[in-house]
């Protein structure tokens, strides 16, 4: 088992390294001069040259990659070309802001999805199942900005004017200091994510509930609740860990649109801004961050999967 996990870890590290390479190359291709981008219409040749030197844009590529990679190990993500300060300071608040959004969405959507999924799996074919499944199918098809715009119209600008539609955070104050402004972004993400968890949970649970051992447990005369809790649910742990992982990974990348829509000061907005400004260091950092979240979360899910499977868990015993 430990070998299995170690192997998985190693693979993740290799993938992560390849990702750094890819991120670096991809950002190199960004056209336009960051120095010009910073200066905008106000750029004069002298100011551009001065800035380029200051940003080490005149060094060879491999040297830039190595020093960037080296910096990653020491927690130095480079210097933002547009703030001309460290990327870490620029991103610190944004990362925690995005995390708040993600964690809230995950914390709400996961149990909700699991509950809906289990509930519908238990009453497959009945009215309740059909309603929940139908609704989740429809919501799952909608692009997130459609959901977001609909919520804004409904709750912020037109129908009811009860919730703020944008996030305004005074400096030094955390995004969660005014919880009401988190409602709509979180709700949008929850609506995007829950249907998937519901559907996956329903499918997993349906399969488990149809399995021989659940039927056997029933034939042993056990109560439906015991059957569910002791025999069925443990088998959903692995698959559910996978779904939740994918959802989390998606959330990390998918917040871009939602943050843009709600002007939420997170990494997604930073990314769009940075791509526009050719702020290579920030693009690299954010992309890498999102990719790392994906890799780590998937790694965790796999480890949970391994731990939850007695066959793999007991491998070491034999």
């Amino acid at each position: 088992m430990t070998r299995l996990i170690l192997k998985r870890l190693l693979v993740s590290l290799v993938v992560l390294w390849l990702v750094t390479l890819l991120v670096f190359v991809a950002t190199l291709l960004l056209p336009g001069d960051p120095a010009r981008a910073i200066l905008g219409q106000q750029a004069t040749p002298e100011r551009i040259a001065a800035l380029q030197h200051q940003l080490h844009l005149d060094e060879p590529v491999w040297q830039r990659y190595l020093s960037w990679l080296g910096g990653l190990f020491t927690g130095d993500l480079g210097t933002s070309t547009s703030t001309q300060g460290p990327v870490t300071t620029l991103l610190a608040d944004r990362v925690s802001a995005s995390l708040v959004l993600l964690v809230l969405a995950a914390v709400i959507a996961t149990p909700l999805g699991l509950a809906f999924g289990t509930w519908t799996a238990m009453r497959r074919g009945r009215a309740g199942d059909q309603v929940v499944s139908g609704v989740s199918l429809v919501i799952a098809a909608l692009p997130e900005f459609v959901i977001g715009v609909a919520l804004i119209v409904l709750f912020a600008t037109t129908v009811f004017r009860v919730l703020p539609s944008v996030t305004l955070t005074p400096p030094g104050e955390a995004v969660w200091a005014q919880p009401s402004q988190l409602v709509l972004p979180v709700l949008t993400l929850v609506l995007v994510v829950t249907p998937y968890i519901t559907r996956m949970m329903r499918a997993t649970m349906s399969e488990v509930l149809d399995s021989g051992y659940v039927e056997m447990a029933r034939l042993k005369g056990m109560r439906e609740r015991t059957v569910l809790l002791r025999h069925a649910l443990p088998h959903a742990v692995g698959p559910v860990a996978q779904v939740v992982a994918i959802q989390l990974a998606w959330l990390a990348g998918g917040v871009v649109v939602v943050e843009f829509l709600f002007r939420y000061p997170g990494i997604g907005q930073a990314l769009i801004d940075a791509v526009g400004k050719r702020d290579v260091a920030v693009v690299q950092a954010v992309t890498l961050l999102i990719a790392a979240v994906y890799i780590v979360v998937n790694l965790l899910a796999d480890v949970i999967g391994i731990l939850a499977d007695p066959q793999l868990r007991t491998e070491a015993l034999r």
Binding site: G212, M216, L219
Partner: protein, 525 residues
């Protein structure tokens, strides 16, 4: 109360239908006395499992009761019609008064729970009076398994198939039920394990006076175990009576067919063919999967026109060896020679003529034909690859071969899933024969098929061999087939040939103890 003691289960007019309304059971009635074993036989899909589960008042998803009574006489208590009870009351009886032993223990044991726990669960659910731990150990011992703590802490995947099945039986007997339903508990087990399980069942039922409904389609098992037999056919009980009666003097046509299909060890062996030099010869074949040595130096030769039976229990390496011969395995050492010419190990390296002359029939007809190709298309592949026949010639050859394996020409354009198992196996055999090979390797070609179909395939192969005069290596684990198909027997055990000789000699005076054991445990009518 006296009548209650003579009947443990009484089923009258039981009907089951799908929720869409299609009848699955029409009107099934039977009864079982305590200590008695009633065998329920019938072809696949006839409704055996459905009838068995109804005895527990359980219907699978999509099925529902269509009337009738299932009266249970618990050991201590009033008789009840389980179908009239509510869910909670049914639960009370299940696992307690009436228990179920599933067909496939690998699927029915929860892979995430330790086996001891799973047995203890039944006891806890039904509020077992004594110490549950002791009872678990006791019942494990009863089914002939180690009862120690360490064993109880194993997970299902750490047990062999036979052990898993016995855990299932232990679970069923844990609460000392008055009725057990055993759903083909020995299918998928090898003969020896099967014998062990059957022994356990017989002992437990008679010792504790338990009524057993034993579902199977293997009449040989029935002859050994059952007191009475009930035959099901398409949702109806067509015949029911004392085992001897039914087996000796079957009334229903289906029962007769079933009986005719059972291979008989006592049959006259086929006449030995004239000896000739080896057309195919394997020399010192060794092969391992990682650390696991599967073949440990096999020498085997088949002469022209001869049929050799390769006999061995599951996992002994039969398939591995035959695939080495067919060129489907790479990593083996030793040589396979065709009329003295050594062959390359992998099929891709062999010449088309070599490929043409050795043909292999796969174990399962359900996976050896591409589900997306018509039968004719599949049969045509070897012709396209290995011969230079024109399209029309190929068509003609395919038609001839279909005729040879007794397949109707109109089946040629069907897809495999539109054929029955037997028909598919014939198609697979046709594919092997279409290039008129010199050597035919048949890998357990009957084991995936129903008993009644088995017989026809064996018969067909015998005829074809005589007609075409090819050499045949017939791989099986069923020694009962020997007289019908083989001239010689080679017994494979643990990757070695432990015994080899003419059929008669081996059957009458086996030299290796494994062979004698096999002969002893093989159920006969």
């Amino acid at each position: 109360m006296t009548t209650a003691m003579t009947k443990a289960l009484e089923v009258t007019g039981l009907a089951v239908r799908t929720t869409a309304g299609r009848p699955v059971l029409r009107s099934v009635s039977y009864e079982i006395a305590p200590g008695e074993v009633l065998a329920l036989v019938g072809e696949s899909g006839s409704g055996k499992t459905t009838a068995g589960l109804a005895a527990l008042g359980h219907f699978r998803r999509g099925l529902a009761s269509g009337g009738g009574q299932v009266v249970l006489h618990p050991r201590d208590g009033e008789p009840v019609d389980i179908l009239t009870l509510d869910d909670a009351a049914r639960r009370q009886l299940r696992g307690n008064a009436v228990a179920y032993i599933p067909q496939d223990p690998a699927l029915s044991l929860n892979p995430a729970l330790r086996v001891g726990r799973q047995i203890a669960e039944v006891l806890e659910t039904h509020g077992y009076a004594g110490a549950a731990g002791e009872r678990v150990a006791e019942v494990l011992a009863e089914v002939g398994l180690p009862s120690d703590e360490a064993y109880q802490r194993r997970y299902p995947h750490q047990l062999s198939g036979g052990q898993q099945q016995r855990v299932g039986i232990a679970m069923a007997f844990a609460c000392r039920p008055s009725v057990v339903v055993l759903d083909e508990p020995t299918t998928g087990l090898d003969v020896k394990t099967q014998a062990l399980v059957l022994e356990t069942v017989r002992q437990l039922t008679s010792e504790h006076g338990v009524a057993a409904l034993y579902i199977t389609h293997d009449l040989a098992v029935v002859a050994q175990l059952a007191d009475r037999v009930a035959v099901m056919y398409q949702g109806d009980l067509v015949e029911c009576g004392v085992a001897d009666d039914v087996l000796r003097r079957p009334k229903h046509a289906y029962t007769k067919r079933l009986l005719a299909a059972v291979p008989d060890l006592g049959a006259e062996p086929a006449a030995a063919p004239p000896p000739d030099d080896a057309v195919i010869a394997a020399r010192d074949i060794r092969m391992s999967y990682g650390q696991h040595k599967v073949l440990r130096g096999i020498d085997l030769a088949v002469t022209r026109g001869e049929s050799v039976m390769l006999l061995g229990e599951s996992g002994s390496g039969k398939t591995t060896l035959s695939q080495c011969i067919a060129g489907l395995n790479r990593g083996f050492t030793g040589t396979v020679a065709l009329e003295g010419t050594p062959l390359a190990p992998a099929a891709r390296q062999r010449s088309t003529d070599e490929l043409r002359r050795i043909q292999y029939v796969f174990q399962s007809p359900f996976s050896s034909l591409n589900p997306r190709k018509t039968i004719a298309q599949s049969i045509e592949v070897p012709l396209v690859r290995l011969t230079s026949l024109s399209r029309t010639e190929r068509r003609k050859r395919v038609a001839e071969t279909l005729d040879r394996v007794r397949l109707r020409p109109d089946l040629a354009n069907r897809l495999p899933d539109q054929l029955s198992g037997g028909e598919r196996q014939r198609a697979a055999i046709a594919r092997a024969l279409v290039t008129t090979p010199d050597v035919l390797v048949c890998d357990e070609v009957t084991s995936a098929l129903d008993v009644s179909v088995q017989a026809t395939i064996v018969e067909l192969l015998g005829e074809l061999r005589r007609e075409l005069g090819m050499a045949m290596l017939f791989v099986t684990h069923n020694i009962a087939l020997a007289p019908e198909v083989a001239d010689r027997i080679a017994v494979l055990r643990g990757g070695e040939i432990v015994e080899e000789g003419a059929v008669e000699a081996v059957l009458n005076s086996p030299s290796h103890e494994y062979t004698s054991e096999l002969l002893a445990t093989t159920p006969r009518l």
